[in-house]
Symmetry: C2
Subunit: 132 residues, 2 copies
Amino acid sequence: MKYSQATDYALHAMLYLVNSDPDKPVGVQLLSEKLTVSQTYLSKLMTKLVKAGLIHSSSGANGGYRIKRNQQDISFLDIIRAIEGTASLFECSFNHGNGCQIQQVVMDAEQQLEQYLASKKIADLVGMHKAE
Amino acid sequence: MKYSQATDYALHAMLYLVNSDPDKPVGVQLLSEKLTVSQTYLSKLMTKLVKAGLIHSSSGANGGYRIKRNQQDISFLDIIRAIEGTASLFECSFNHGNGCQIQQVVMDAEQQLEQYLASKKIADLVGMHKAE
DNA sequence: CTATAATAGACTCATAAAGTCTTTAATGGG
DNA sequence: CCCATTAAAGACTTTATGAGTCTATTATAG
């Protein structure tokens, strides 16, 4: 059970954007160099972040990605969900619809996990991937 | 990000064993009927639980699986780890060895999750999969 | 001995993640 | 208005892993 590689890229990309000048959009070309990943692949991940409403994109010359204004509201959970989706950690194959106690326990655990990840904001991390 | 189907089977199998007469081993044949899964597949999962030290197995006639004596010590985490392994939830592709703050956050979250799952004992669930 | 039951290993199949290639759409600057 | 730049979209390939089967081997109670 593991978060995908894509989530790793997305978290680092977001951190880079947070530490960048909010008025200068960062293109996928620069980002892909920083993260050592191909442009085409990374751009697909960035599009997911845009659709999740975490960042803003602009096409054309001098275009790129900018973080949304409410930086302090962007949590780890937001980013992880944007990439991983919202499927739950555990689905009991039996007791369909009925309350499976096993499922209940694991879902409670998941809720704790998500609560923690929601409390951690990407903007709280400093000094990493600082844009020069 | 999801726990495997195998973990689902294993949790239910363990619950069944907990609710069974500790002196009567339960064979994989009966278990596979209860869980509607093939014998050969389930037996591989059971072997993992044996190797993890959670249950005891005996071959031959009247053989099968029995829960270990320390029922109250068997947690959800024990079972999940026996099947899923102990690989961590997140591995930063960058900052190898050094302290990646992103990884730190996610690993802290994981530790919370595991602490919760370790506090939940399979023997605390009653009434499900009760052996008749 | 023999029927029963767990263990082991090689194998297949399906699905999802990871990544590439190409085309299309949007947009700022000259 | 044109063009260089940049994001978005979609089809495609590759690879890894989960899920599951089949067959053979080992252990053991009666």
